[in-house]
Amino acid sequence: MATEPFDLLGDFRFLPESSTGNTRGQLFQVLESDGGGGEAEAASLGPGGSFIAVPWTLGCGCAEEGWGDTIWVSPGDTVAFLLTPTRKEDPPRGPPVFDVLGWHQPYPAGEMIPYWRKERVLNPDWLTPREFFGLLEVLPGEAAFRLDPGGSYHGVRAWSAERPERRTAFPLSAILSAADAGLMRVQGGSPGPGGGAR
């Protein structure tokens, strides 16, 4: 089905019509959600609800756009999303539609997720989709993170401290490392003993 770019929100509205002429989506059933999107999303994204996810790539002139891969998420696989409204209106019938950057969503199916790491060697120990969902629940909000990067990570650090055996699992290790790096940039030095996202 075709998607009109002017029906989309955010950066998705800049998708060229050439890439939206043959939109493809997959149906997902919600197992758990944190209701962070408010009442409208809670109604459709509550446990037992269904939604359609549409993956996109967003190019930069020479990059591919749209979505051409044969397989995105294998039916039966459990995955984790972080969804925001991307359509001005819900479809007249059927479940709501959410657009995502298919390289990075959902976890762990996104093709580029292995490259969130900074290390050359791939860590064989990954968080399960349910663990990653739990990690998403404790990530700070954007405003809190920008205001106080170190302080906003107390929830993530607590989540990690409760699971010491998972501290080196991917992508928790990559998130903590990136947060530490961001904190160092803000502070202009190394994170203090209480400020680093460990």
Binding site: L45, I52, F81, L83, L101, W116, R120, G141
Partner: protein, 75 residues
């Protein structure tokens, strides 16, 4: 053997690495946020190659199971 990539990275993975590196510095439509939650109101549009570090306002974390292949017609 490529002295930079080393022997442990297969050619296909090396290609994806380069793609990831390219994307990390080529966020035409993104504004520097993270791919899962770094922008508002549609953070998912970012091309940045890093993990999510924070959540944008109004985002919903969802654990879900895929119940279909590509839908032939869904609108």
């Amino acid at each position: 053997m490529d002295p930079f990539l080393g022997p442990r990275i297969e050619a296909a993975e090396a290609g994806r690495w380069l793609k990831a590196l390219f994307l990390s510095g080529a966020s035409l439509l993104g504004s520097g946020g993270s791919p899962l939650g770094g922008q508002s109101p549609a953070p998912v549009a970012s091309s940045d190659a890093g993990p999510p570090l924070f959540r944008s306002p109004g985002s919903t974390a969802v654990l879900a199971v895929a119940t279909s292949r590509w839908l032939p017609s869904w609108r």
